[in-house]
C-alpha cells in the first residue's frame, strides 16, 4: 500500500526527483543508534554478564571521557577494557571494512555477485596465512605475527597480480578482471589446499583462519587495522561519484566525465587495502561484504554516496551482532554465524521490495 501511494504521489508531482536526503539521514541515524546498542550489548554479554549501567559507565569513561556516578569493580573494568571492548571495536572495524569494500567492488565490477574476496584476495590471504602457519619461524612485532603480515600481503599481492594480468588480456576490462581473478584465485586456492594437506597438526589453525574469528583482537592490532580501514573507507566514499557513473557502464561513465581507468585502479587499491586489513586481523569472515551492500541498496537505492558509508555502518553492526552470537553460543566461528544470521535475513528482504528497489 505504502509503495503504491508513493508511486502515485510521485506521478502527480511530475519530475520532482525524490532521492530524499532526509531519509538517508534517518537510515544512517538508526544504523548508528543500533550500533551503539550493539556496542553496549557486545561488551555487557558474555561468560561474565556485566550490568548495562556498569557497562555504559565504563564505555562512557573510556570512549567519551565522561564520569558517570556508577561504581564499577576493577575486575569488571578489566574485563571490559582488556577483553571485550577491543574485540567489539575490532568487529566493528572489520565489518565496516568488508561492507564498504564489498559495495565498492560490486559497483566497480558492475556485478551483484562481487564481494571483497572476488579478485583473489581471499585465496591470497589464506595462502599467506597457511604459509605462515607452516613456516618454523615465529615473529612478533607490535603483537603482529607472521600470519597477520603474510595474510595482509597475500591479499594485496593477489589483487595486484590480478590487476596486472588482466591488463595483458585483450578482453574488456571488467571481463578481464573477473576471469583473471577467478584464474588467479583458483591457482592460489590450489596452493592453499597443498599447504593444508602438508600441515599435519597445524591444520586446525589454518582452518580457523579460513572461518574467521575475533579471538585475536587486541588494542594494538586494532590501532593498526582501524586507521587503514577507516582511511580507505573515507577515500572510497570520496570517490563515490565514479561508482555512480559506472552504474551505466564504463563508456557512459567516461562520457559523464569519469576517468574510468584511473578511478578503477584507485578504487581497487582502496578496496583491497580495507579488505587486507580486515582479513589480517579477523580471518576470512564471509558473507558480510556480499550481503550488506545489497541490503543497503534495497533501502536507499543505488547512489554510492549513500551506499558506501551505510554499508560500513551495516557491516559493523552485522559483525558485532554475529560475534556476540558466536560467543554466546560457545565460541563458534564467526563466519558461520554471519552466514546463519545473514542468509535468512537476506532471503526475507529479497521477497519484500517495499522501497521500490529490487535486486
Amino acid at each position: 500500500m505504502a509503495s503504491r501511494g508513493e508511486t502515485l504521489a510521485s506521478a502527480v508531482t511530475v519530475g520532482r526527483p525524490r532521492t530524499p536526503p532526509h531519509r538517508v539521514g534517518l537510515v544512517a541515524g538508526a544504523g548508528l543508534a543500533a550500533l551503539a546498542v550493539a556496542l553496549v550489548a557486545g561488551v555487557a554479554l558474555g561468560p561474565v554478564a556485566i550490568p548495562p549501567a556498569e557497562t555504559i559507565a565504563v564505555l562512557a569513561r573510556r570512549l567519551l571521557g565522561l564520569d558517570l556516578p556508577v561504581a564499577v569493580a576493577p575486575a569488571v573494568e578489566a574485563i571490559v577494557v582488556d577483553l571485550r571492548l577491543p574485540r567489539v571495536l575490532t568487529a566493528m572495524v572489520v565489518g565496516a571494512g568488508l561492507g564498504i569494500a564489498g559495495a565498492t567492488l560490486q559497483g566497480l565490477l558492475r556485478n551483484p555477485l562481487a564481494d571483497p574476496y572476488v579478485l583473489g584476495t581471499a585465496s591470497g590471504a589464506a595462502l599467506g596465512a597457511a604459509i605462515a602457519v607452516l613456516l618454523p619461524v615465529r615473529v612478533l612485532v607490535l603483537e603482529f605475527g607472521l600470519l597477520h603480515g603474510l595474510a595482509f600481503l597475500g591479499a594485496l599481492g593477489a589483487i595486484a597480480l590480478v590487476y596486472r594480468l588482466a591488463r595483458l588480456t585483450p578482453l574488456t576490462p571488467l571481463t578481464g578482471l573477473l576471469l583473471t581473478g577467478y584464474a588467479v584465485g583458483s591457482l592460489l586456492a590450489a596452493g592453499l589446499a597443498m599447504a593444508m594437506y602438508l600441515s599435519g597438526t597445524s591444520l586446525r589453525q589454518i582452518f580457523a583462519y579460513l572461518l574467521g574469528g575475533l579471538d585475536g583482537a587486541s588494542w594494538l592490532r586494532l590501532a593498526v587495522a582501524a586507521p587503514l580501514v577507516l582511511g580507505a573507507g573515507l577515500a572510497m566514499t570520496a570517490r563515490a561519484r565514479a561508482l555512480n557513473g559506472l552504474l551505466l557502464g564504463e563508456e557512459a561513465a567516461t562520457t559523464l566525465g569519469i576517468d574510468v581507468r584511473r578511478e578503477r585502479a584507485l578504487l581497487l587499491g582502496l578496496a583491497a587495502l580495507a579488505t587486507a586489513a580486515a582479513v589480517a586481523v579477523a580471518g576470512l569472515v564471509g558473507f558480510v561484504g556480499l550481503v550488506v551492500p545489497h541490503l543497503v541498496r534495497l533501502v536507499v537505492g543505488p547512489n554510492a554516496r549513500h551506499v558506501l558509508p551505510l554499508s560500513a555502518i551495516a557491516g559493523a553492526l552485522l559483525l558485532v551482532v554475529a560475534d556476540l552470537g558466536a560467543r554466546l553460543l560457545g565460541n563458534l566461528p564467526v563466519g558461520v554465524v554471519t552466514a546463519v544470521l545473514g542468509a535468512p535475513f537476506f532471503l526475507a528482504l529479497l521477497r519484500r521490495t517495499r522501497a521500490g528497489y529490487e535486486l
Binding site: 526527483p17 552504474l247 562520457t255
Partner: protein, 266 residues
C-alpha cells in the same frame, strides 16, 4: 569577461562566432588493425543540427565515439569549442558534449529520476553530490522529455523505448552545448520517433544546442535535419541539405538500393 574566472567549475565558454562546437580534422580511427575512419574532416557549428547516415559498418558510431573522446583517433585532431580534446580533462569534455548512451544495462535497481540525475555528474559537487541547481536541471529534463509519469519506477522494468527516453533525459540534464545521439529512435514507436525528433529540433532552436545524430531512417533524417552527412566506408561521401545529398544516385551508390526519398516536408 576575464579568462581567469573561467575555472573548472564555470560552464564551458559559449561558442564564439565561427568557432565550431565540434571539429574533426583529418581524423582516422581503427579498432586494432582494422581501419574504420579515414581522413574525416567535419565541423559542426553552434546551433547546427546534423544527421549522420550511411550503411552498416560505415563508421558512424565510431565517429561519435571519437568525437566524445572515448576512442582515440589514430591520426588527426578533434576539437570541442576550439580546444583539442586531448587538452581537456574528462569533466571538461562532458560539459561540452553530452552523449545519449546507446542502451545501457543497470547492475542494480535505480529509479528513473536517479538515472536522469547521472547526467549531472560533470556538474555536481564531487563530494556532496546534487545541489539545488542540479535537482532543478533534472526536473526540467524529465519534464522536457515528457517522462514525468515514469518517475519513481525502476528503470530496469521499463520498455526499451521508455529506457531510451530516460537516457535522452539524462543527456538533456547534462546541459552540454553539443548533444550526440546514436540511433535515438531505434526502439521507439512512430509517435515517439516523431516526438523525439521534435524535441531535438526544439533543443536546437530554443536552446541553441547543437545536435549530431546517427540515424538509419533517411525519411526522418530528411524531414528533421537541415544538414545531412553521408558516411561510406569511413569517409564523408556527401555533406549538405537533404535535397542536395539524398538523391537517388548517391543512395544507390552508398546503400546499394534503388529508392527515392520523399523529401516533402509533410
Amino acid at each position: 569577461m576575464t579568462v581567469a574566472a573561467a575555472s573548472a567549475t564555470a560552464p564551458p565558454p559559449a561558442a564564439g562566432r565561427g568557432v565550431p562546437v565540434l571539429a574533426l580534422e583529418g581524423v582516422a580511427a581503427a579498432y586494432r588493425q582494422r581501419e574504420v575512419l579515414v581522413g574525416i574532416d567535419l565541423a559542426v557549428g553552434a546551433g547546427e543540427r546534423v544527421a549522420l547516415v550511411g550503411p552498416n559498418g560505415a563508421g558512424k558510431s565510431t565517429l561519435l565515439r571519437v568525437a566524445a573522446g572515448v576512442l582515440l583517433p589514430t591520426a588527426g585532431q578533434v576539437r570541442l569549442l576550439g580546444r583539442p580534446i586531448g587538452e581537456l580533462d574528462r569533466v571538461a569534455v562532458a560539459r561540452r558534449l553530452a552523449v545519449v548512451p546507446q542502451g545501457a544495462s543497470l547492475p542494480f535497481a535505480a529509479r528513473v529520476e536517479e538515472v536522469v540525475a547521472l547526467g549531472r555528474l560533470p556538474h555536481e559537487h564531487p563530494l556532496l553530490g546534487l545541489g539545488p541547481a542540479d535537482r532543478a536541471a533534472v526536473a526540467a529534463a524529465i519534464e522536457r522529455v515528457g517522462i514525468g509519469h515514469l518517475v519513481g519506477r525502476d528503470a530496469r522494468e521499463l520498455s526499451l523505448g521508455e529506457r531510451q527516453l530516460v537516457l535522452l533525459a539524462l543527456a538533456v540534464a547534462q546541459g552540454s552545448p553539443l548533444l550526440v545521439l546514436d540511433e535515438p529512435t531505434v526502439h521507439l514507436d512512430l509517435r515517439h520517433q516523431v516526438e523525439v525528433m521534435a524535441l531535438l529540433a526544439d533543443l536546437n532552436d530554443r536552446d541553441g544546442t547543437a545536435v549530431v545524430a546517427v540515424l538509419h531512417d533517411l525519411r526522418l533524417a530528411a524531414r528533421f535535419f537541415p544538414r545531412i552527412v553521408v558516411l561510406d566506408r569511413g569517409r564523408v561521401a556527401a555533406d549538405g541539405a537533404p535535397g542536395e545529398v539524398l538523391g537517388p544516385e548517391l543512395v544507390r551508390a552508398v546503400f546499394g538500393v534503388d529508392v527515392e526519398i520523399a523529401l516533402g516536408t509533410a
